[in-house]
Point group: C2
Chain length 334, copies 2
C-alpha cells in the first residue's frame, strides 16, 4: 500500500523530524505534501532527493491525503484536524487539542497500539515527556503493577520549537561574552539556568501545577489504561538543545529488584538499557539526540520504601517524543 | 572579640566565597591568613582592601589561628584538620572527611545550631545539596513531621570547582562554534547536557547510588536529628555555572496545605518564599547566584498521596551551600 502523506506544520522542528523519520523508515509514501501557515508557504523542503514547495494550509488541503501528520499549535489543530478527517484523511495530531478526548485514541505504539483501531479520523500523539516515560513504565507495570510515580523532568528547549533553540544559542553566547542576555521566547533567560515552568507565560492550573505537569499525570493514565496509577510531576526547562531527561521514582505492588527491572527493560520494545550499577554508564541527552529509542539507566532500588525503584529516562523529544511516535502510529495504520 | 581566621584552600571557588562572606558580614577578623597548596602559594588575595600573599599549607600553619575555614579535598582535610585542631584552632571543614563522624557536629545553623557546642575542635559543614534542602525541610518537619523525601537535584558545575566552570564556558563556546568539545574535568561534555553522576569518575556505592545521593540521605538525617526520615535522591549535573536547584517531594505525618507550608516557610530563618500559585513566580539559579538565602517556590500539594507536597528549592551552592554556612557556624562560635 502506497500512501499519500501530508506533514502539517512542516517547517517547524517537529515537522522536519517527521520528514526525516518518514525517509529513514522507508515509509511507503506515494505522494507527500508539506503544509504550513501563510508565513512559511513557498519555502522549500526536500524529500527523498526531490524538492517541494511548502503549501499554505487551507480547508481544501486534504482532499488527496490518506495520512496527515499534524504538528500545529493547539488552536490550529482544533480547527484543521476535523477538516482533514472529514476529507478522508486520518490525522495523527501532535498537539494537545484532542489528547484527553474520550473519542480520540492517545497512542504510544509500544504501549497501546491496539487503541489505534478505535479511531474516528483523529489519533492523538501524546506529550513528549509522557511518551518516553510510558515506554519504560509499561513493561514494569505489566510485571509488578505500578501504584505511584514521582517524576521530575529536565526538558530541552527544542520542545518549545526552533525559535527557542536559536534563543538558547544566542543567549548562551551573550552570557559567555559578558553581554546582556535579553530573552524573547521565554520570560527568563534559559542560558545556564533552569526554569520550572512549562509552558511559559501560561497561568498555572488551579492546583498550582503547570499544564505540562498535568499532561504527564492525565496522559500517562490514559495511555497505560489504568486510572488508578497515582502520579505527581515537576517539569523543568533546562539549557539543552535536544533530548528530555527524567528522574522517575516508582512504587510497585510487587517488589522488583533493580536486576529484574533491568532484565525486563532490556527485552522491552523501543527501550535501550544503558546502565551499570558500578557507575559511569547512563543515558544523557547529547547522546540520545538523533536516536529513536528511549534510553534508561541509573536503575536502582528506592531504599526509602519497601517496593520502589529510581531510574533515569532519556529520549530525543523531537523523535520518540514527537515525530517517531507519530510515524510509528502511521505504520500501524497501514 | 576579634578572631584570627585562616581560609584553607583559599584560592578555589569556595575559598573566594568564604573571603567575600567574611567581608560582607563584617566578621570580627583580627588577622586573616590565606592557605593553599604549594601550587597556589604566592598568589595574591585581597581582604578589606589589603593584599595578602597566599601561604603554603603546612603543619605549622595553625599556631596563631582561632578559626580555620577549610575547603580542601577530603584527603587533605583528613590530614590537616586534626593538626589545626590540635594547634588550638576550631576547624569548620567543608569536605566530607568528618561529616558522618559521630564525634563531629554536622551543622546548618538554622536547623541545629545547638549541636555546635559539642565540638571537639572540628565542625563539619554539610554537602551543598543537603544544606539548602534541610533549611526548607526543618520548619515543615517541626510543623507536620516529614516521613519521606524524594529529591532530584539540578546541580551547577561550580560544585565541582573553578576548573569545571571554565570547562562549561569553553565547551559551550565550542558547541556554539560547531567545533569538537572535548571534556577534561568531567568524563562527558556538560555543555547543553545533563549528567546523572555526582561526583564523576567515582564508582557508585554497592546500592548503585552515587556518593552525592547517599550524602543527601545520611547527612539530612544527621542534621535533622531524625534517623526515621526515609529519603531517596537522584543527583544530576546540569549546565549551570552557580546555583543548585532541587525538585523535592515530601510526605508528612500531618496534612499540610500548600498555603500552610508557604506561611510556615515565609517566617523561616534563611528562607525566602518566591512563589505564586497562579504562575510566573519561582526561584531560578541565575537569580539565586550571589545571594545568601535559600529560595523556595512551586509549593503545591502532591495529589498522588494524602499528605504530601512538591516544591522547588534553589540556593547559591558556593554561598549557602558552602561559604555562607561555614561563616554562619563561625559566627555562632564567637
Amino acid at each position: 500500500m502506497a500512501v499519500r502523506v501530508a506533514i502539517v506544520g512542516a517547517t517547524g522542528a517537529v515537522g522536519h523530524a517527521m520528514r526525516d523519520v518518514l525517509e529513514e523508515r522507508n515509509f511507503p509514501v506515494d505522494r507527500i505534501k508539506f503544509l504550513a501557515s501563510e508565513r512559511s508557504a513557498g519555502r522549500k523542503m526536500s524529500f527523498r532527493g526531490q524538492e517541494y514547495a511548502v503549501e499554505e494550509l487551507a480547508t481544501t488541503s486534504f482532499n488527496d491525503v490518506d495520512i496527515a501528520l499534524f504538528t500545529l499549535p493547539k488552536k490550529l489543530s482544533r480547527e484543521f484536524s476535523p477538516i482533514a478527517a472529514r476529507a478522508g484523511a486520518v490525522v495523527i495530531d501532535n498537539s494537545n487539542a484532542f489528547r484527553m478526548d474520550p473519542d480520540v485514541p492517545l497512542v504510544v505504539p509500544e504501549v497501546n497500539a491496539h487503541a489505534i483501531k478505535a479511531h474516528k479520523g483523529i489519533i492523538a500523539n501524546p506529550n513528549c515527556s509522557t511518551i518516553q516515560m510510558v515506554v519504560v513504565l509499561k513493561p514494569l507495570h505489566d510485571a509488578a503493577k505500578i501504584t505511584r510515580v514521582v517524576v521530575t523532568t529536565f526538558q530541552s528547549v527544542s520542545g518549545t520549537g526552533r525559535e527557542a533553540m536559536d534563543e538558547l544559542a544566542r543567549l548562551s553566547r551573550q552570557v559567555l561574552d559578558q553581554k546582556a542576555a535579553v530573552p524573547e521566547v521565554y520570560p527568563f533567560s534559559i542560558a545556564f539556568n533552569c526554569i520550572p515552568e512549562i509552558p511559559s507565560r501560561t497561568p498555572f492550573e488551579p492546583n498550582a501545577y503547570t499544564e505540562e505537569e498535568m499532561k504527564m499525570v492525565n496522559e500517562t493514565r490514559k495511555i497505560m489504561e489504568d486510572p488508578s496509577i497515582r502520579i505527581t510531576a515537576t517539569c523543568v526547562r533546562v539549557p539543552v538543545f535536544i533530548g528530555h531527561s527524567e528522574s522517575v521514582n516508582i512504587e510497585t505492588a510487587r517488589k522488583l529488584t533493580a536486576g529484574e527491572a533491568r532484565a525486563i527493560l532490556s527485552k522491552a520494545a523501543g527501550v535501550r538499557v544503558k546502565d551499570d550499577p558500578k557507575g559511569g554508564v547512563f543515558p544523557m541527552p547529547i547522546e540520545a539526540a538523533g536516536k529513536d529509542e528511549t534510553f534508561v539507566g541509573r536503575i536502582r532500588e528506592d531504599e526509602s520504601i519497601e517496593r520502589g525503584l529510581n531510574m533515569w529516562i532519556v529520549a530525543d523529544n523531537l523523535r520518540k517524543g514527537a515525530a517517531t511516535n507519530a510515524v510509528q502510529i502511521a505504520q500501524h495504520l497501514i
